[in-house]
């Protein structure tokens, strides 16, 4: 269904510009999301990858205003979500949903599955009265559970089944955009594939648009049309998955791909092992935040924040030395 062939003329469903989410602490400010811009086109899956502390999860939540951003805009169709009053936002929530990472804590342990789904319907006045039960049964069936499961409590399910319930809850309000926050990383490997298949089916069936937050690069490569690579609250590189994976144009992306273990002992790869740790988000390096670990860092990298620059169709990179490195063949 989804192919890599897109035209950039199509108006994006979600357009994030310069989004900032800062957390003031007693001894400084954490810039969890620091001036991030990207677009998500209708019907596509965009992967958001990065290591811990990259701000990918905060970014997803900021768009949904589960965390209040401190600046920028997040346009959904033509409406900036960040300017909506809480009341207006509540209406919009029907169109934007979220699936969580931890299938254990994302379901209220004291509510039956039926009640969890009913709450979603109630909140937006959907499937009232006699339509309620069949709708819940339909949702459960759709995610691969049976209607009888409505009477059970979350703890009676396995992790994979709970994740299905979480998906059913998100689907209940027929959203247009779903932020999937590491939906499979807490699951056993053998169950991950079930959920990935389910999400794909649903995406096709309902024409969903998805922002898929993950740290597992192979899952993103497989699942996503486009990928956004984050590091320390900023976007390093974004573009169509095939392009980014086959030819990463940012040193960080390249290192990331090179260090991800591949389940094949016969593959021999160029090893790029980054030195040191991710710096503290309280005190990020000047200029390019990646420069402290970058094998190609030069004095110029410390000067200014590198701008997002196009290196191909829909492919952007924030690195001042990208052209230099490309010509030298290092990237």
């Amino acid at each position: 269904m989804s192919t890599l062939a897109h035209t950039s003329s199509e108006a994006p469903l979600l357009s994030v510009k310069n989004l900032e989410t800062y957390f003031p602490l007693s001894h400084g400010t954490v810039r969890a999301v620091d001036g991030v811009s990207f677009e998500v086109r209708r019907g596509t899956i965009v992967g958001l990858v990065g290591e811990s502390g990259s701000g990918k999860t905060t970014l997803g939540r900021s768009i949904l205003r589960l965390v209040e951003p401190t600046g920028g805009e997040a346009r959904f169709e033509d409406k900036d979500l960040l300017t909506l009053s809480p009341r207006e936002m509540r209406a919009y929530r029907r169109r934007l949903q979220i699936i969580f990472q931890d299938p254990y804590s994302s379901l209220n342990p004291r509510m039956r599955v039926g009640a969890i789904l009913a709450e979603a319907l109630d909140t937006h006045g959907l499937a009232k009265g006699s339509a309620r039960a069949p709708r819940i049964a339909e949702l459960l069936t759709r995610v691969g559970l049976s209607p009888e499961h409505a009477k059970r409590f979350p703890h009676e399910f396995s992790g994979g089944q709970r994740q299905r319930i979480g998906i059913a809850r998100a689907l209940a309000v027929e959203p247009e955009l779903i932020v999937a926050d590491e939906p499979v990383s807490a699951l056993d490997v053998s169950v991950q594939a079930q959920i990935l298949n389910l999400m794909q089916e649903l995406q096709k069936e309902f024409g969903l648009t998805m922002l898929f937050v993950a740290h597992d690069l192979s899952v993103v490569e497989y699942l996503c049309d486009e990928v956004v690579v984050m590091y320390l609250g900023r976007i390093m590189e974004r573009g169509p998955s095939a392009q980014v994976y086959s030819r990463p144009r940012h040193p960080y992306t390249k290192a990331l791909l090179a260090t991800a273990p591949i389940p094949d002992p016969t593959v021999k790869r160029e090893r790029i092992i980054l030195k040191g740790d991710i710096p503290s988000p309280l005190d990020p390096p000047s200029g390019c935040v990646f420069r402290t670990r970058c094998p190609y860092a030069a004095p110029i990298c410390a000067e200014n924040r590198p701008p997002d620059e196009a290196v191909g169709l829909d492919h952007f990179v924030a690195c001042v030395r990208k052209d230099e490195l490309a010509t030298s063949g290092e990237l």
Partner: protein
Amino acid sequence: MRDALAPDTLLSVRNLQTHFVSRSEVAKSVDGVTFDLKRGETVAVVGESGSGKSVTSLSIMGLLAHPGRIVGGEILYRNRQGTVRDLAQASAKEMKRLRGTEIAMIFQEPMTSLNPLFTVGDQIAEMITLHEKISYRAALDRAAEMLELVEIPAARRRVNDYPHHMSGGMRQRVMIALALANKPSLLIADEPTTALDVTIQAQILDLLRRLQSEMGMSILFITHNLGVVAEIAREVVVMYAGRVVEQAPVVDLFARPKHPYTEGLLACTPNAARDVDPNGVRLPLRPIPGSVPPITALPPGCTYAPRCTYAVPGCTGAVPPLFSVGASHLSRCFRHELL
């Protein structure tokens, strides 16, 4: 049996059974695990949650938590004097002597595995002075050397740091320094990189590989990540629901899995090269149906049978033995020929 231990074999776990018995139920966390570990080699034990891989490692260390108990099998270990001892029968005193000197361990959670109230140098020095009669000063010097060995920058200064001053990756390095301080023969690494980011994971794996080649210890590497297995192991033991289901040299295992579970695991991990067709159309993944059974309620016979696409009614009759399916390749499947 003890004499049967090949001279180059450091550790031989034979039919190990570790159960957790509570008032209401018995959890057979480890139920017949067998494998050998040669000197200087790395064996990876791979499995999902509840497979019993961590309990296996704790059984070897003699660090089982309260209701857990080794109820059967042997853990044969060749100590520095060359004597073969059964750790399953060893006295608490003997285990205490072995732990930290000959057998050391690193854990999954670098953030919590170090005592927050002591400096890292102190914790390493303590490890040294516990087993060697040297002064604390000297031990602290050795600690600094160890930190240098694990590539901690400005190691001499960081001896006096507390764990909370360090990142997860740094702490895992400290744990490794701690474990290797007394130059153990066997290092048990229980998911040492699971909690770390990929770039840091690569650093740690790299470090372990280097240290192994320098110091020559054997590593028992516990993980759930097949990618990591492919990178570090020579031999792989696949566990499912408390039992070893397949055992093989790493290349063999990935190329020719002889157990449906191993095959399923490899097949369900997304791989764009395989699962996306040249036109960019994504093919559905081939997941393993169902989920891992709870350890307290295992199905009869082959525990994988309910999820197995090859399963026939006979599979639930008896527990399949480990069949030899190739050179040092074992599979616990009645129908291994089909694969």
